[in-house]
Amino acid sequence: MNLEWSGQERITASKEKVWSFINDPASIASCLPDVRQTNVLDAHTFDATVGVAVGPVRGSFKFKIALEPRPDGNHMDMKINGGGLGSVIDLLAAADLTAEGDAATILNWKGTASMRGPIATVGGRVLDTQALRVISTTFENVRNRLSGNPPSQ
């Protein structure tokens, strides 16, 4: 089961500030919704335990998240691999930054996921919207944190 999503956030902060934020595993970890535990491993990788409730699949999933920034300072790939309860999720999230003057940044994001196991059974019925919620909430939280707004979740 392969799913794809994309979206855009406008952040009232400079591109440098946004870049610095999304390069920091602890900052990104704090933006994931339903996080139960995070453990930063090094400058670019961290583990996260996330609460999942998708149809009959309910419990915690463990993910290993690796940040792969491009040297140009405009593009970040995030590889998220993990799972739980017999399911496996491989997620690739990518963020592209474009400066809008000095004080604002447009963050375009794309996500693709491949899922295996019981979570794939839930399929198009609820998984698509649930996964979209997780990924879009993450980027909303990035926006809110940097724009000084309260987090979405």
Binding site: M1, N2, G55, P56, G83, G84, L85, G86, S87, V88, S114, M115, R116, G117, P118, A120, T121, G123
Partner: protein, 774 residues
């Protein structure tokens, strides 16, 4: 004493089931028992790089974690398949070959601890590209089975019939149809999943296996062959079984791992499947992709049938087919029709799906064959612009042609297809329905009438043709009559809803003039029951039913000697009449079987062995051929694609009927399953090999809300070779009904030009077909 056979006697087993006093596998709790839970692969195809047990082993209560490597070290990693042409992994070893394949087993002090610890077994996989489609498997670009030579996904080619004559007849036929007809992958999904309690007693050296088994003796032999434990040291007990439909015949990894654990640890180990495990790993049904071609004259006389099938067997060739029949009884594909020429071939392939293939009330691929021919005949009728009833009538094997030698090698025992169809047409009011349909079509309403005049073959089977693990497919009965005229009847079969405790007593009661209520029927315990091949493929009545009748007749022979002694006449002067022994020519002089039984223990003739008991191992001379006419009447909502089954009539002919109420119940159950297969059920995989139907929210079971009201009736054409003329009925409704539903929906959509939709006919599929046609 009066008649027992043909009586709608209430089921003797029901009081305990109705009161919740049945004893199923999961009711068994033994002191010190441990529990097994299995780790499953999320990948359909992956290399196993490592398995780390340490975190699971650290959980309090976990006693062991077993992997494929551990089993390989003990030479227990591979199981032979029933027909012996392949082997299957117990736990994934080196590679996983289907999603949810068993990778490791956790043994713990409670079920909860075992399942929690399963989450902590860390398996590192290297995912490989999966092969989900048998046509993709055919390309051999990805080879699934590294362990086999030659390196191909092709398992076997099987063919039957005259290829050249069939090709010539098809080429010269005035009218031809060709359609790819798919019998999709579905699952029997019995209410009770599979399970085992393995209990190795190290003091006695005896291994007791409580199993949801429908073939306890075969399972005992299989366990002995695999483990090397002598057969006398293995005791298989099959407690009450909550449905099977073909699902409880194979040997599953959970059985083996629980047994290995019990043998090593020396305490009982229980494994009971979850619903998801049952749907994702145990014996599936169908997955036959059939190219059906029929030739005919312009007048509608069939000339030839050719069916070429691609079969998806999953990761192992583990279908429990008899050894000489890799494609089961698919040769029944000529059905009820007299084809001058026919040819059928099956090519089976490995894919990254679970193994199995012959489950779900199908009698070894008869369901697929019957679906192919009955859909094919409807397509031919459409092409000829003929009434499908008339086409069938013209081509039926005639009553006087029996015993009938089919072009694909079967000898049909008996039948009067035209009479059975006539009865069904009269009951349903066929002419009036066609008139109503014509009226509705004028108004643009979609009404359909679908007919299926199927013939199946059951009762495997004659030992010269059929064996499993080399063991001939006979069955057996043992009867012991007590001094007071009650008795115990044991058989090598194992019922799981068929009502043997009642019908076996009725057969013996009829033959011996005893009250079936006083004949206790016992099955499923290998220490006490005679060796038998078990209950599946509608074989119990055709095979064990014969053994029971013949064992009873052996009892009667001995009883006759005792009766002569009691009546003080020569044995030749004694006759069995009106359920008692009389004296020829002296109407008022007689003794009952009860009196004879008492004498057998208290006053046997001087030269006669005391007691009244015997056994019989019955090897049937032929299969039996039940048949029927099923008619479905449907209304299709053109706006939503919803199909309303307005009426459904099943007129069955299963030969002699032992208990009409039980037969009717069997037919109701099978029709509900056939309805589900036609409209609701499919085990689907996405392109990555994910099983999309792993629970009952995704794999649908019809409830009273969806299930149509059934109308049933029968004709009776006894089997000439069966001791009581019975043919078996358990599978007929599932074999015969899906095509009646599909034919009805296709008939409803005929004005739109829709000719075929593959099952299941979901609302979406029907709606799309209507929309695309409009």
């Amino acid at each position: 004493m009066t008649q027992s056979i043909g009586v709608s006697m209430k089921r003797k087993e029901d009081p305990r089931f109705i009161r919740g006093r049945g004893r199923y596998l999961d009711d068994i709790k033994l002191p010190g028992m441990l529990y097994l839970a299995l780790v499953h692969s999320p990948y359909p195809h992956a290399r196993i790089k490592s398995i780390d047990k340490s975190k699971a082993m650290a959980v309090p209560g976990v006693k062991a974690v077993i992997t494929g490597e551990d089993l390989d070290a003990a030479k227990l990693e591979w199981l032979p398949t029933f027909h012996g042409y392949d082997k299957q992994m117990v736990l994934a070893f080196g590679k996983t070959l289907y999603q949810y394949q068993e990778v490791a087993g956790v043994i713990a002090t409670s079920r909860e601890v075992a399942h929690d610890a399963v989450e902590l077994v860390e398996v590192e996989y290297e995912p490989l590209d999966p092969v989900v489609d048998p046509y993709q498997a055919k390309e051999d670009t990805i080879i699934l089975r590294d362990d086999r030579e030659p390196k191909t996904n092709h398992i076997y080619h099987w063919e039957v019939g005259d290829k050249t004559a069939t090709a010539t007849a098809l080429d010269t036929s005035a009218v031809r149809i060709k359609e790819r007809i798919i019998s999709p992958r579905c699952h029997p999904a019995p209410l009770e999943p599979c399970g085992i309690v393995a209990d190795m007693n190290k003091a006695t050296g005896r291994l007791t296996l409580y199993m949801t088994s429908r073939a306890p003796h075969v399972h005992r032999t299989a366990f002995s062959l695999v483990t090397g434990i002598p057969e006398d040291k293995i005791h298989v007990i099959s407690p009450d079984v909550g449905g099977g439909f073909g699902n409880k015949v194979p040997v599953y990894p959970g059985y083996v791992v629980a047994t290995v654990a019990s043998v090593i640890i020396g305490v009982p180990v229980k494994w009971v499947e979850t619903r998801t495990e049952n749907l994702t790993t145990t014996g599936f049904a169908r997955d036959y992709h059939m190219d059906v071609e029929i030739g005919a004259t312009k007048e509608g006389k069939v000339t030839a049938l050719r069916v070429s099938t691609v079969a998806d067997h999953g990761a192992f060739d583990a279908a429990a087919d008899p050894r000489k029949y890799p494609a089961g009884m698919f040769g029944i594909v000529t059905g009820s029709y007299d084809f001058p020429a026919a040819f059928a071939e099956v090519d089976a392939y490995f894919t990254n799906k679970p193994p199995g293939g012959i489950a779900y009330r199908c009698s070894f691929r008869v369901t697929e064959a019957s679906f192919a021919i009955e859909r094919g005949m409807d397509l031919l009728a459409r092409k000829l612009e003929m009434d499908p009833v008339e086409l069938r009538r013209q081509n039926f094997i005639k009553k006087e042609q029996f015993p009938y030698s089919s072009p694909l090698g079967f000898t049909y025992d008996s039948g009067d297809y035209a009479a059975t169809m006539r009865k069904a047409l009269d009951i349903i009011g066929y002419e009036a329905l066609r008139k109503e349909q014509a009226e509705k079509r004028k108004r643009g309403e979609l009404m359909g009438i679908g007919i299926s005049t199927f013939t199946e073959t059951v009762g495997a089977g004659p030992g010269k043709q059929f064996d499993i693990l080399g063991i001939k497919m006979f069955d057996s009965a043992e009867i012991r009559i007590h001094p007071t005229g009650s008795g115990i009847v044991r058989a090598g079969t194992r019922h799981q809803g068929q009502g043997h405790e009642t019908t076996w007593a009725q057969i013996v009661g009829e033959e011996l003039g005893l009250d079936p209520q006083e004949l206790l029927v016992e099955e499923g315990d290998t220490d006490t029951a005679p060796y038998g091949l078990g209950t599946y493929a509608s074989r119990s009545t055709p095979v064990a039913g014969g053994a029971l009748a013949l064992a009873a007749r052996r009892i009667r022979e001995k009883a006759k000697k005792i009766a002569a002694h009691l009546l003080e006449v020569a044995e030749d002067d004694v006759e069995w009449k009106d359920y008692k022994f009389g004296v020829k020519g002296i109407p008022d002089k007689s003794v009952t079987m009860k009196e004879v039984a008492f004498a057998a223990y208290t006053n046997p003739p001087p030269d006669t062995e005391p007691g009244l008991e015997t056994s019989y191992y019955y090897d049937p001379p032929n299969l039996t051929f039940p048949y029927g006419t099923y008619i479905a009447v449907v209304d299709v909502d053109a706006d939503t694609g919803a199909v309303k089954v307005r009426r459904f009539l099943a007129v069955d002919d299963c030969g002699t009927v032992i208990n009409p109420m039980i037969v009717e119940g069997q037919i109701h159950g099978g029709l509900a399953e056939g309805f589900a297969i036609a409209f609701m059920q499919e085990i689907k995989y996405d392109e990555d090999g994910n099983n999309l139907n792993t629970n009952f929210t995704e794999y649908l079971i019809p409830t009273a809300l969806e299930t149509p009201a059934w109308e049933t009736d029968r004709t009776v054409t006894p089997s000439p070779h069966h001791p009581i003329g019975a043919k078996g009925v358990g599978e007929s409704p599932n074999v015969g009904s899906p095509q009646a539903f599909v034919n009805a929906v296709m008939d409803a959509l005929a004005p739109l030009g829709v000719t075929h939709i593959d099952m299941p006919l979901t609302r979406e599929k029907v709606w799309r077909a209507i929309r695309n046609a409009s």
